[in-house]
Amino acid sequence: MSINKQQDFGTPASAATQLVTLEIDGFKVTAPVGTSIMRAAASIGIDIPKLCATDSIEPFGSCRLCVVQIEGGRGMPASCTTPVAEGLKVVTQNKSLADVRRGVMELYISDHPLDCLTCSANGDCELQDMAGAVGLREVRYNPIETHLDAVKDESNPYFSFDPSKCIVCSRCVRACEETQGTFALTIDGRGFDSKVSPSQNEAFMDSECVSCGACVQACPTATLMEKSVIDHGQPEHAIITTCAYCGVGCSFRAEMKGEQVIRMVPNKDGQANHGHSCVKGRFAFGYATHKDRMTKPMIRASIKDAWQEVSWEVAINHAASELKRIQAKYGKDAIGGITSSRCTNEEVYIMQKLIRAGFGNNNVDTCARVCHSPTGYGLKQTFGESSGTQDFDSVMKADVIMVIGANPTDGHPVFGSQMKKRLRQGAKLIVIDPREIDLVRNSPHVQANHHLKLRPGTNVALINAIGHVIITEKLMDEAFVKERCDIASFAKWETFIAQEHNSPEATESVTGVPATELRAAARLYATGNNGAIYYGLGVTEHSQGSTMVIGIANIAMATGNLGRDGVGVNPLRGQNNVQGSCDMGSFPHEFPGYRHVSDPATHKLFEAAWQAELSDEPGLRIPNMFDAAMDKNFMGLYCEGEDIAQSDPDIQHVHAALRSMECVIVQDIFLNETAKFAHVFLPGSSFLEKSGTFTNAERRISPVRKVMTPLAGYQDWEVTQLLSNAMGYPMNYSHPSEIMDEIASLTPTFAGVSYDKIDELGSIQWPCYDEDSVGTPIMHEDSFMRDNGKGLFMLTEYVPTIERSSRKFPLLLTTGRILSQYNVGAQTRRTENNAWHAEDRLEIHPHDAEDRGVKMDDWVGIKSRAGETVLRATITERVQPGVVYTTFHFPESGANVITTDNSDWATNCPEYKVTAVQISKVNQPSEWQEKYRAFSETQLDLLEQGTSNS
């Protein structure tokens, strides 16, 4: 293994298809029009010296190191800004050029510390490399003034900014603008005074910097440097793997020193992220080796007992015997399992296999139950497949982007940056959200054309009104509908949607969105050429979540915005493997590939392959499991990678259900909230300690590769296999690739997927039907995946949620997440990311705050019909009057103490996004928070008692 640095071509690739041929240093080279001479040269192995150029950003032409001579041309043009042309004859090396380059380098070095041997970039410094390349042997200048005394900025927890080493090449400034789209950096001053400035000469942490790392990546010297490299030195080998945070699924190079991760560097060849990253994936990986990591299996008889560390054999046998005992006592259906979107595809697959074949029931569910299960239902019904329709790159061809109930710059930041790039190029933007997300007007050079600031819970009324405008103003794509859709269903929908009660004027009083604004937005989407919809949990986590997904599908079909680049319906998945965990059959009614358990052919196929008698009846969903536990009908749970005791709604009910079970088995890397109710703890492995695959929001199956030995000794799939064998259902996989081979053999949409192919291509987007297929970036190009190939329109009557504001609970609470923290926070809370967000807070509009005497930073009680919690207040006009908002990253916040058991009609996805609450100023934590603190402290004591001798 080696560090195997990725080649830097100096300037970005040209997308042109027209080719030209030129001659560089006597060698013929053919390149697309628009390619720089620098890149063309690099493509044939001729490296022209450079400093201000790098292939992730547009050329700038400032350093003058890359000058060349062109036959018949004047002077020495910069090769980074000079495009190729037919017949050019270019010289990259001669004495004149060498003299110029040496002179340039001499000037740079005259104001640069000569501390190469002790510099953190030693061995990975482009300035050092260029000094060598141009043959610099002396510096004749003796400057009277330099920048060598410039003060370091160490404010960012992950990287250092040392201006004494800055060559003012502007790569960091341009990366912040072009790649990230934050514009936090600038060059302040002129001439000798020029310097890189975060914001208005502020420290990085006080500026708008979002710590994505693009500037660090772009810096050619040690000016911007990861603190981990400063502490540990340069890495010596690199392994490509996939980020374990959000559903963008960024590809990273884990740059290692032995088994220690030195840094995570975004992979330039990553097909989802193209070399970009966010603060979580780039820097927040320290949780993997945090002191809280659990590395020993443990058991106990009751949650009042101290934990006892045991061997793997004892723990697994105990877990299996308890599950068997419960089945003998309460029946076959009294146990089940919950998988997670944080697990790999292979882990999820064998988990559901264990439950279906080993437990003998279909009581398997996944955390997608509480996020995107309505996406699975709605898109399967209308388009025939439970997935988004596009690849991420499709956004670069979109002319009108509609973002519904999503906050891409916080929740899916790398894709958010790509979307912002397209918006800066001129695409129009419609935001549908109760809250003012950054894209509305807080992102530089981006502003929404329409922000439809609807009341929480009225999505379906709004999407119906958009459909109404499309139909009644005859804005639909008749040819698409006629050719591609089920005509009878369209006729029914057309009649329904045209009814007056669906008009913008009729729905205005419900949604709060002015009819004229809505009509303008609908017209823009329907007539603005390529219209692309991106949506998040603001769509799905409602009592009509599935109806809203169907409504979105309806308007996309009606306007013909499907089946080609630049359009589509795109669910932004919250966690890294939401799509994959659903694909792998972790819902209680579906085998892998979304095939119903009662389908005779599928049922027979799996019975034969798995050599087991399988149930053809749906199993229990997560909320059903909790209800059944309260009835003493569901008494044993195997939960892998999911923290239901923090993330699920109406948490007091969840806790009561967990307490009522006789055996809760938790497999996780930390003693999470659920583990505090557990009887068996099986230590899990982080994404750095195992191999497998993740499937991101664009159906891209990407490699996860073990870069360090599992701290607890086993990869998660091995633990599940051990449990299965102890349960009496044999599994004998020796590598996760064998699991993928089995998945491919049983699932038509994965038939052509293999580890060899993933390694060869980097990643594969399913469907991938056979060996020759390289995957499917865009779905439904010729026909939909329904049996008759036609898209199905469905009726979407608006049904108000029962969770309405009242005199007692006059405000509506909605929830979301923030850039620096991730879901329940188990990972990011154990990193320096707390520097940005150390607590969940309640956002409240100034009017509502004033009515209640609440001031900024006051403690406020938030009470709903389910419970009460206390948070500090942030007063902001981001939320509209009558609406309050919070995040849910800290268990002590108890956001889910107040959310209710109301859920989506089709899938029971909880209605997290609408909870009627009252707010009042308080001066102490809620009763639940006091109880939680006491319970949590007791559990940590019980852990301490059990592990203190080890």
Binding site: H589, N624, L795, W905
Partner: protein, 71 residues
């Protein structure tokens, strides 16, 4: 499982399919949805409730559950 929970779930499903003007098709939709997504024990319990009382069920949900019973 609490019958109130099952009744609410069935009525919520009914509310979606109620948009269909042909009530036979609507009831078929509700019935099929329950058949394909509910654990058999939950189905048995809602059918038993529907037979014994059923008053808290919407008309469409009741029709659908009767269909389910006859299937």
């Amino acid at each position: 499982m609490k019958i109130e929970t099952l009744v609410k779930m069935a009525n919520d499903i009914g509310n979606f399919f109620n948009a269909e003007s042909n009530k036979d098709i609507a009831a078929e939709g509700v019935s099929k949805h329950i058949l394909r997504s509910w654990h058999p024990k939950m189905r048995r319990e809602i059918i038993a409730y529907c037979k014994e009382d059923g008053s808290a069920l919407s008309e469409l949900a009741r029709t659908a559950i009767n269909k389910l019973d006859q299937a």
